[in-house]
Symmetry: C3
Subunit: 312 residues, 3 copies
């Protein structure tokens, strides 16, 4: 992975590639601005006349729509390029695609790619005035998801994360969401983080350094203030990493009963889309402790804050 | 099908699910406003800043474009979600998809779904400030098509439908267009409605109550003022409901010769897309009595009227 | 091919179908205006409220995005219809599709089609107020590519083309880009045009009248001021027109070494997308003599000029 910094010489954010080791002030400023937008304020002048392209080498309709809505509320012009289905780019490199659309006068790129570090690699080749937003690269990072999760958590539990007991449950190994959440939680001072899942789905690459790691869901939930559930990709079964959806649900599915182990005012989060009946039960997903739709709502605001910071 | 009312406690339209039993004043007010928009007036302030999503679980490019153009002329921001091809929503319910996009701040949804009642079911779960527009559900209803057909008819024949002889020809059984047209015609006082097609393509579920039903195309056309042709889906042959396209054309295809049975100033309508040479001949489709492109033109205006009524 | 003129009775451009035999004043005026837009000027009032549809019967994401960006900078509303994937138009003719979208109030159409003359055929059936832009039809023409290439050439080499030695290299036979470049070069007074490629890829239909034709790449490059490379479609191998990519690269691939045969300040152009390592080497494509990204940049400006001329 190239070592392109996402900051300029003055320490200002130039791209958003990761939340890892982001200066706390920078992260907090983004959250403050996101909170402003979450309160319903539009700012159509901020990016009026500015072109933004959603450049998805891996499809994701929901993330794309969230970015598109954010761009609209800032007055930007949006172009969409679904590189996962485009036949015209056969044989063309991701870099040539980027440079071409950049040459059309597009200043901001929202990029998803299946490879770790792919967005950073593209950022290294972008023109000085161009900003790239990582909308998910491989297992590495999904920084706007991390931001929206922190915004949601701060709204629910206040800005002091130091005493919160936070449980992250499921397929952490393959999850860029989990990684960006962990990056952000550390920057914001969280210290009681529990990571839980079957051994086959927990990473051993340093991702969980400083976390309490367990395979026992009940232990992870015990007295937790925040329960962050992760989506179980069905391909994990085909890969032999999970024996069956039924077994997974029995061991790591969040039911109303199980949630009672957490604190009475514990909140439940999930990045979506949910596999209802697998990692989460309907009664929890739609229950009073669920923040899942609030997360989606905050996603637009968080993305507005990033777009404004990079391009405004 | 849930019994969600499309009206609020004050009787105002909250969603548009069907034209069935719509109060005549409500329907007429929509047509009056549609006429205003059909005269070329835009109203970009009406929905400025409002987000509308076209959420199509069954593809239909033309209906989607018509709604998109309507939304543009009202100044709305449009998001498009082709749920029929999205791989990201695999395993996600239509309801979760709706609730997620709603959580992004989208206030209006234009929804097409293959199942009868699917849009009403989603409407029952929408937030108070959210409006759903049925852009076609199963065989049940396609209310904006009904509206645009009534607008077109009113422009051609005046507002008094009581004396008009109206023939509806073809696959009424599987047609949401025919049902919405019948709903609207009844509300507006039409009494001379003839329904015609092969027995295999006529419904026996009450849809045709009060209509004169015949399998004889010549009889249906005799002295008719309005001839509404329906599209013959090719799958009806595979299902054995029609023996061949040639037979269908011989029995129920509208030719110049056949049209002479109607009044000299009879008008011909078709919801499109046409199977030229099957249910309608080129010379009729493109002839002076055809209102087919006028229908398409009025479609944008009718959809503007509905969007304004629900979201303005 | 119908003989629909692209000019009205007063000689003003009504459609843009081809650059062939375009009056030099008309072409120069488009280039002058494109130059204005290339300098960064937007003109959001010019097409405010005007609807433009990109109607692609053959997919091309990059050309579509370029037109979309051009339309945005002129303030137009854009509708996109990918007719190559739409299932709703099965069995519908291109003409019915056009007439329907036209009936929705769309005034401008950007059309790509695989058949020679298809856009001219549609133009013959368009309403008086409707303008069609050929975004590529068969092997015939791709006039906005011709315009952007002329704009790029004029910026690099000045407006007098009469003394320029211009080499066009590769699959000219199947190239609408080459044809539109040749049309425009002749109108603008270029006289030293060399056409080079294997015999199987050179046309014998009059396209190259007046050009110096050779199969020897070195001869074509010798002292050239401008080198226009063409994309080699991989299907040419399957068709047996080219023996292998390796052979093609050896005979007609532009390397740094080979480029030295041209003048020291020769410029290199390519319409994209490139097959790197086949018709062009990385070091040339990304080198200081390459105008390839400048072409893309000028594409938006050239398309703005055409949209303004036809619809403004």
């Amino acid at each position: 992975m190239p070592t392109t910094s996402q900051y300029d010489a003055q320490g200002r954010l130039r791209h958003l590639l990761t939340l890892q080791d982001m200066p706390r002030d920078t992260l907090t400023a983004l959250l403050d601005r996101a909170q402003h937008f979450a309160e319903g304020h539009d700012a159509r002048h901020v990016l009026a006349g500015t072109a933004i392209c959603t450049l998805f080498f891996e499809p994701s309709t929901r993330t794309r729509l969230s970015f598109q809505r954010a761009a609209q509320r800032l007055g930007a012009d949006v172009l969409a390029f679904d590189a996962s289905t485009s036949s015209t780019t056969k044989g063309e490199t991701a870099l040539d695609t980027l440079k071409n659309i950049e040459a059309m006068g597009v200043r901001g790129f929202v990029i998803r790619h299946k490879d770790d570090g792919a967005v950073a690699e593209l950022a290294a080749a972008a023109n000085p005035g161009t900003a790239l937003l990582n909308a998910g690269d491989g297992r590495s990072a999904h920084p706007t998801q991390g931001l929206l999760d922190m915004l949601t958590l701060r709204q629910a539990k206040g800005a002091d994360f130091s005493t919160l007991k936070i449980a992250i449950i499921g397929d952490i190994k393959h999850s860029r969401v989990a990684r960006s959440d962990l990056h952000a939680l550390r920057v914001l001072g969280a210290t009681h983080i529990r990571a839980c899942g079957p051994a086959s789905l927990l990473p051993d690459d340093g991702t969980l350094d400083g976390c309490h790691v367990t395979h026992d869901f009940d232990e992870a939930l015990d007295g937790a203030d925040v329960v962050m559930m992760l989506r179980l990709q069905r391909e994990r079964m085909e890969q032999g990493l999970v024996s069956s959806l039924e077994d997974y649900h029995r061991d790591y599915g969040l039911s109303v009963q199980r949630l009672k182990r957490a604190t009475a005012d514990a909140v439940v989060m999930h990045p979506g889309p949910m596999n209802r009946g697998v990692e989460i039960d309907d009664a929890v997903a739609d229950g009073s402790q669920s923040l899942i739709l609030k997360q989606v709502n905050n996603g637009v605001a968080a993305r507005m804050a990033v777009l404004e910071a990079l391009l405004g």
